[in-house]
Amino acid sequence: MTFSIAARCPRTGALGVATSSKALGAGGLVPYIKAGVGAIASQSFVNPYLGYDGLRFLEDGLPAERALERLVESDQGRKLRQVGIVDKGGRVAAYTGERCIDWAGHVAGGGYLCLGNILVGEDVVKAMAQAFEYSLDDDVPERLMQALEAGQEAGGDRRGRQSAGLQVYTTEEYPIIDLRVDDHPDPVPELRRVFGVWMAEESDWLRMIPTREDFTPHWEEVVRLREMVEEDLLETASGNAGKES
């Protein structure tokens, strides 16, 4: 039904999840991330409380393994669930309920884990892990994207394709990247395309977004860019007026 990767960047401490599924809008259901705390993927008859509670347990100081034990214990529906946790120290823990539909399972590595259910086979998560390992020189959004692509190329969800999502948090309360493809015949390449648009249009803006300490970082640049946008609009407006007349 779903294949996902949750990971922590060993260089920056960024935390992220990438996911794809034969379900509508999986990008809005699977990832639960808090900067400086942890990244959780909750899937297979998603119980969102495994995400919320898991982040709370991590925030209280439990390592991934202990947080997972408490989550699984707390859920009477545990046999159907699949959940993966990466904590701020890069420790990982995952659980695949015995009634998750075949193939279902996970592989864990240093600072990351790949998990899935109703997959074509174990190769999907293995290919994801390998792609993540091989992309060590890239930034974590790119690495997550590559892992997701490798999972799809290995066959992905055996029910088909529908949605995908990518979320990464660094130091602030909001994500630096949060992209979704909710319904598409080929969601992973579509997510790659949207990710390319993000790189081209948005990544430059990141340093200009308010932080908790500074609501106006690089402000002269924000004001200048804003003026450019206004000028473009005026030109567009006069251009349109010309065409109409």
Partner: protein, 232 residues
């Protein structure tokens, strides 16, 4: 840059927001909805803390006017921000900074607020009118119609790129959450997704874990048929 509506359903108390913009993935940073607490649209040159801080203040008992005063008072760039709020009691308020790109405006009434910036002339008025006229419908449909009315009226003068619709009638998570992050006709595409979700309503509305009941009633009994369906 963006046009949006936040609203509370007078029948069910559900809270939600619909938004569209000529920027990438607008729903990712503008939408802040929490069931039983409120819905906040934070847009224009948005400050990402208005949403989470605003929801915390609403949950602590502040009214929407007090929330706007609190979050804008500490922000030196408030003139570039726009904020729409409705709370769980249906009280609403809005703020449009004097430096937001023309036409930047808002309107609010009992139960909802609409607003936007860089808009064509009648966008906000048409959205409000659509919302007023759809009182018989469920909240997601009303929000969708208001967004469509805003687009038909000309929407964002900068173009079209993304849209989103989020509703929650649950204390912990959104029960309706759809996004179109990069599309030539984002509002039209969002309408398609709304239709798709409606076609599978039993799947999305039938499976809804709660704190007390993480495994919904009837699920175990129906497990065999669910499993057959999922195996495909």
């Amino acid at each position: 840059m963006t046009f949006s509506i936040v609203a509370r359903c007078p029948r069910t108390g559900a809270l939600g927001m619909a938004v569209a913009s000529a920027s990438l993935a607008c729903a990712s940073f503008t939408v802040h909805v929490k069931g039983g607490v409120g819905a906040i649209a934070s847009q224009a040159t948005s400050n990402p803390f208005y949403g989470p801080d605003g929801l915390r203040l609403l949950a602590a008992g502040k009214n929407p006017d007090e929330v706007i005063a609190a979050v804008t008072s500490i922000d030196p760039a408030r003139d570039l921000r726009q904020l729409l709020i409705v709370d769980a009691a249906g009280r609403s308020a809005a703020f449009t900074g004097s430096g937001c790109t023309t036409r930047a405006t808002h309107a609010f009434c009992e139960g909802y607020a609409v607003g936007g910036n860089r808009l064509a002339d009648d966008v906000v008025e048409e959205m409000a009118r659509s919302f007023e006229m759809s009182a018989e419908e469920a909240l997601p449909e009303r929000l969708m119609q208001a967004l469509e009315a805003g687009q038909v009226a000309g929407g964002d003068r900068g173009g079209r790129q993304s849209a989103g619709l989020v509703v929650s009638d649950h204390p912990d998570y959104a029960t309706f959450n759809l996004r179109v992050d990069d599309h030539l006709d984002p509002v039209g595409e969002l309408r398609r997704l709304v239709g798709l979700r409606a076609d599978n309503r039993s799947t999305y509305d039938g499976f809804r874990p709660t704190r007390e009941q993480p495994l919904p009633p009837g699920f175990v009994e129906n497990w065999a048929s669910i499993k057959m369906t999922l195996r495909g």
